[in-house]
């Protein structure tokens, strides 16, 4: 019979191994979150830059391309971690992998939206998570869960709100805001159906609702002003810029929750 000491020695090795792997994945998840957040900033920056003459593609499309190129880093990180998250390990460490993964899906879906104006499908997200070694069947780094996909894309609406409101002051921003609003509404409607089955989705849905209301308020301001003044687009752009900044000021005074909202959102992220 084995001595108790030697039995526990083997346990120690196994427990240490588990804790080390866990730490590794937490760190990686933080790095992936970081890359994803930076990519989101990059997407905003390029998509909102004024189009230059002679550019073959719109700022949105070039933003999307650059953003996607940036996100390849994430895939490479997952490919490197393959041993730690493949097979039955994925579910053991799901809690450590999920936060980074959801952030990545948010960035990816924003890039996809800028280029196509549609919501990225779960299959498309899964397709970006293929390692490039071996046969197609073994190329999957890990299976994308319904929950991670939905929680990832439900963060997209917050970015779309920022995007719609910042682009308002630009030429063509008003149509853009309207179409973005329609898209956010659709997201809210579709995701509502999933709230009973997905844990934490309802919290994200309330953030989506707030984002939707913010775009609605901004669009409302535009419509009211456009009906009052029959101005050429140039002047109207200036006017709208004033209205939107004034609008957000008033809002802040009306409810202190504006900053609170942002904090909430950070927490949910």
């Amino acid at each position: 019979m084995l001595s108790t000491a030697s039995i526990f020695d083997a346990f120690r090795a196994e427990i240490d191994d588990h804790n080390d792997r866990r730490e590794r994945l937490i760190k990686a998840s933080r790095d992936i979150t970081n890359i994803s957040k930076k990519t989101i900033f990059l997407l905003h920056r390029i998509a909102l830059s004024p189009p230059r003459d002679g550019d073959a593609e719109s700022p949105e499309v070039s933003a999307s391309k650059k953003g996607r190129a940036n996100l390849v880093q994430v895939r490479d990180m997952y490919a490197k971690l393959k041993d730690d998250i493949a097979g039955d390990r994925f579910w053991r460490y799901e809690g450590q992998v999920s936060p980074g993964l959801q952030e990545y899906i948010e960035a990816l879906s924003f890039a996809h939206f800028l280029e196509h104006g549609t919501l990225i499908t779960s299959e498309d997200v899964q397709r970006t998570l293929l390692g490039d070694d071996g046969q197609p069947a073994s190329r999957l780094i890990f299976p994308l869960t319904v929950s991670d996909y939905l929680l990832g894309i439900s963060d997209l609406t917050g970015e779309l709100m920022r995007y719609a409101i910042s682009s308002l002051s630009q030429r063509g921003g008003r149509t853009k805001a309207m179409s973005t609003l329609a898209f956010v509404r659709m997201c809210k409607g579709d995701f509502d159906g999933f709230t009973p089955q997905i844990r934490n989705l309802s919290k994200k849905q309330s953030v989506t609702t707030q984002s939707m209301k913010k775009i609605e308020d901004a669009v409302y301001a535009i419509v009211v002003r456009t009906s009052e003044y029959d101005l050429p687009p140039d002047l109207l752009d200036d006017l709208v810029a004033q209205i939107t900044s004034g609008n957000s000021d008033r809002k802040r005074r009306r409810d202190v929750s504006d900053d609170g909202d942002r904090e909430n959102e950070m927490n949910v992220d």
């Binding site: 039995i7 346990f11 579910w91 659709m186």
Partner: protein
């Protein structure tokens, strides 16, 4: 959202919740078994040691009857998804570890190893990505065993069995020193391990009481102190 994707996601969620229901049915069965066995074993505190073998004989078949349920669960869980579903049956499984280890201790006073526990619960190695006994759950079972043994030490003295606390003390100290070799992080296992020292202390006090009054047989005391 793309309608095809919407449908796909709904289908996946639907089949997941059906699976959860099916596993739940099995888990309820397992919980019943665990209650039956714990009920039986509870009698050990009030019967003379001569009756213990009979008691164990009534527990063993129930423990064996968990095999088929474990097999059913292992067939329900999809490949690689063990960790996804294991929370559903973890409590039951830990109590089975305790039962198996307690039965073993009462039978011959030895510690049931992880491999033997796995075998006694009818868990097969080839299920390992669907149903397994992780080290953590085995250790939880052992802690429950120590908790129970500190109670048994008290009650065996009440029943006039002065040798039992000495046996328990040596056994528990061995397990305790094993636990001190582990690097535990701040989780439930760690907290439960921290509570073990009170059990060890309690058992030591009983040994002290018994040996001070020269109630324990001489030989057993000397074996115990040499450990």
């Amino acid at each position: 959202m793309d309608p095809a994707d919407l449908e796909l996601l709904n289908e996946r969620l639907e089949s997941e919740s059906q699976l959860r229901e099916k596993i739940k049915e099995q888990v309820l069965e397992l919980d019943k078994k665990s209650r039956v066995m714990l009920g039986h074993l509870n009698k050990v505190h009030s019967i003379p040691s001569s009756e213990v073998p009979n008691l164990l004989a009534s527990v063993r078949p129930v423990l064996e009857s968990t095999h088929s349920i474990h097999q059913t669960v292992s067939q329900l869980v999809p490949a690689h998804q063990f960790w996804r579903w294991k929370d559903m049956w973890t409590n039951g499984l830990r109590s089975f570890v305790f039962v198996a280890a307690f039965v073993q201790f009462l039978t011959d006073g030895t510690l049931l190893s992880l491999a033997d526990t796995t075998a006694q619960l009818g868990i097969k190695d080839e299920w390992k990505d669907r149903f397994a006994l992780p080290v953590e759950d085995y250790l939880h079972g052992l802690i429950t065993l120590v908790n129970e043994l500190s109670r048994l030490a008290v009650n065996s003295v009440t029943l006039g069995n002065f040798e039992e606390p000495l046996k328990i003390s040596a056994f528990v100290k061995d397990i305790f020193s094993g636990f001190t070799m582990l690097n535990l992080k701040n989780d439930l296992l760690r907290r439960r391990f921290d509570s073990l020292k009170y059990d060890v202390k309690k058992i030591e006090e009983i040994v002290y009481d018994v040996s001070l009054r020269k109630l324990a047989p001489k030989k057993a005391v000397s074996v115990n102190t040499s450990l």
